[in-house]
């Protein structure tokens, strides 16, 4: 168990600045998820934390000690790789016990700890097999088991579920959530899948282009995204953005297809209005206060129906999430009803948030 502190961490590869000053703290026992698009630097940051790459500048501390120059082998961390990185020539038991063997742990103790971990992860029947004789899900369990057996100070996960099929991914997600409950160890989890981050993490760190865009709990990020990037990244399906071409004297934002009322005064000029698909409703065209458009495509997922509506005067369709029973025809003219309380308003300068959705919703 350990607290992880990063202060102004920078990493450059030749001319390229991959990390441009990362500062954050992961508290003891906290589950922190780093999310961001590919190439945002999240995996690089993880490699710096575990000591596989050198920090260009900045300070990193584990449990109140600067560890910049402590080699990976002495940091006492465990990492689960996307590719699992199991040792192909060793049996499952040897894979899981390898770190203990290197540390000089007595053999009976190694065996006992490996067997315990294997039982928890339900891989005890495979202890004598080689990794290639296992399925993808089993290999993933071995990789996690190898990390558990060490009782590390911090667990690091590098996109551990990306190579699994959808059903297995959900199972393993639950498995990791249980492990977090049981072990209470500090965990750092890198993923590009925001659903994994939302469901698992106590704290989400949204990264983009080598910088931290926002740090917060899953609901904080969902309800009050700091900027347009976070608003677009967190939430599935992603938020719709409507260009605001002006504000009327009555205080309504002019957007494609009509106007949206302002829930409150905003401290600047609105450039874009963001509304999540789940906060939109469809009504008859011409309904009071609705945006007019027509349905260009629908997707029926069973539980939900997604309607893509092209608003009058806009090329880019917006997505409206409806209940699964709702039937919508293509080319049907509709009115999209927007509740002003659910609208996020972004200014033109650096896409900062001017107004988040109503706090009434957070209180509810």
């Amino acid at each position: 168990m350990a607290k992880l502190e990063l202060h102004d961490i920078r990493k450059t590869f030749g001319e390229v600045d991959v990390l441009k000053g990362i500062s954050l703290t992961v508290e003891d026992g906290e589950f922190a998820a780093f999310v961001g698009p590919s190439g945002c630097g999240k995996s690089t940051l993880l490699r710096l934390i575990c000591g596989l790459d050198e920090i260009t500048s900045g300070q990193m501390a584990i449990d109140g000690e600067i560890v910049n120059d402590v080699p990976a082998s002495r940091r006492g961390l465990a990492m689960v790789f996307q590719s699992y990185a199991l040792y192909p020539h060793m049996t499952v038991a040897d894979n899981m016990g390898y770190a203990l063997r290197l540390a000089g742990t007595p053999k009976p103790e190694i065996r006992q700890r490996v067997e315990n971990a294997a039982r928890i992860l339900r891989i005890d029947p495979y202890l004598d097999r080689k990794p290639r004789q296992l399925s993808g899900g089993q290999r993933q369990r071995v990789a996690i088991g190898r990390a558990i057996v060490r009782e590390p100070r911090i667990f690091l996960f590098d996109e551990p579920l990306s190579n699994l099929d959808a059903a297995l991914r959900v199972d393993m997600r639950i498995e990791i959530a249980r492990m977090k409950e049981r072990l209470g160890t500090t965990m750092v989890y890198v993923t590009h899948d925001q659903i994994e981050a939302m469901t698992l993490a106590d704290k989400i760190v949204v990264m983009n282009a080598g910088r931290v865009e926002q740090v917060g709990s899953p609901l904080e990020l969902y309800n009050r995204p700091a900027n347009r990037f976070v608003a677009g990244f967190i939430g599935s399906p992603r938020m719709n953005f409507l260009a605001v071409s002006g504000v009327t004297p009555e205080g309504q934002m002019v957007v494609p297809g009509g106007r949206i009322g302002l829930a409150r005064r905003i401290p600047g000029t609105a450039a874009e209005a963001g509304v999540r698909p789940e906060h939109l409703r469809l009504d008859r065209p011409g309904t009071e206060g609705s945006l007019s458009g027509r349905v260009v495509m629908t997707e029926h997922l069973g539980s939900d129906t997604y309607a893509y509506v092209q608003l009058d005067g806009s090329e880019q369709p917006i997505l409206v999430r409806l209940s699964g029973e709702r039937l919508v025809r293509r080319e049907e003219p509709v009115g999209v009803v927007v509740d002003p309380e659910t609208v996020h308003i972004f200014g033109s300068d650096a896409n900062t948030l001017l107004s988040a959705q109503s706090t009434a919703r957070e209180a509810a």
Partner: protein, 311 residues
């Protein structure tokens, strides 16, 4: 819809694009056809001379005879009691052991160095192939000069370092001559071995090594627990190829020492050459050759089995 309807075969015409004898028709024939030239050359250049030698080993056939005389296993009986031939076997064993082990260790070490990222690596890798490019007799003469008693650079360096007090006549002593032929062969073989090892090292999963480091492995543990096990198949192939190549070695030894001093570096290939083209005892030379091939069969068999199994 009734199930029976589904189970009935489709009564539809076959596509005109279909290959009438099945998808794989003709593959076997093409394979044999492609093999034919190689088989023909093998039969003429290797199989026929080998069978001929096998036959000759049962005859007495020297320069003064007009026709070979059948003596059964006479040549082999002579070999069994000939100290010289047994000595050639012993010399060959020593030579093969030292060259193979030496090349293995140095080739692996060099490959490990060249697998590290550093400036000038590509240039160094290219230069490392130089011994392979040079004709082996040229290499032998280069090493002959290095070991030369009066002008050799080896003596110069050792004298400079104070390790010897007066110049050594390396090629005139049995140990010195063996050292020279062994070192020459090692130097010649390192590029090939290194290329094998380097190829093997490059497909070692980087994340596997990363995982090992995080698990607490230092350099030695990474080498012992991950790099060497990963290279095991390469190692086996390289050892077998090395043993076969070293068992056959002729040109560098012949150019460097001619098998001497006395018989200190007379390996089987040199012995066969001497019997055949200095003593002109073709039958006896053939008999040694047959035994020599017999020693080659074991490693060759391993090698071929590995190739076939795709190990």
């Amino acid at each position: 819809m009734a199930l029976t309807e589904v189970n009935r075969p489709l009564e539809l015409p076959v596509s005109p694009l279909a290959n009438r004898r099945g998808l794989r028709a003709g593959q076997r024939r093409t394979g044999i056809l492609l093999l034919l030239p190689a088989i023909a050359v093998f039969a003429v250049v290797i199989l026929y001379p080998f069978l001929k030698a096998l036959g000759l080993s049962l005859f007495r056939y020297t320069i003064e005879m007009t026709a070979p005389e059948f003596i059964g296993l006479g040549n082999f009986r002579t070999i069994a009691t000939s100290g010289e031939v047994w000595n050639a076997f012993l010399v060959t064993a020593i030579y093969v052991l030292f060259t193979t082990v030496g090349t293995l260790v140095l080739g692996l070490g060099w490959a490990l160095i060249l697998n590290q990222p550093f400036r000038g690596r590509a240039v160094l890798r290219s230069f490392s192939l130089l011994p392979w490019v040079l004709p082996s007799t040229v290499s032998a003469f280069i090493w002959g000069w290095i070991f030369n008693a009066r002008f050799g650079v080896l003596n110069a360096i050792l004298l400079e370092l104070g390790l010897i007090d007066y110049p050594q006549a390396w090629l005139s002593t049995p140990q010195g001559a063996m050292l020279a032929v062994v070192l020459t062969k090692i130097w010649l073989s390192i590029p090939l071995f290194m290329a094998f090892f380097l190829a093997g090292l490059q497909n070692l999963d980087r994340e596997q090594v990363d995982a090992a480091r995080i698990d607490g492995a230092g350099n030695w543990a990474v080498l012992r627990d991950h790099v060497l096990p990963h290279l095991r198949p390469v190692l086996i192939v390289v050892v077998v190829i090395g043993v076969i190549g070293n068992l056959q070695q002729f040109d560098t030894i012949f150019a460097l020492t001619g098998g001497g001093p006395v018989r200190a570096t007379t390996v089987l290939s040199i012995e066969v050459y001497k019997q055949a083209f200095e003593q002109w005892d073709i039958g006896f030379a053939s008999a040694i050759g047959v035994l020599w091939v017999a020693t080659l069969i074991a490693p060759a068999f391993f090698y071929l089995r590995m190739l076939v199994k795709g190990a």
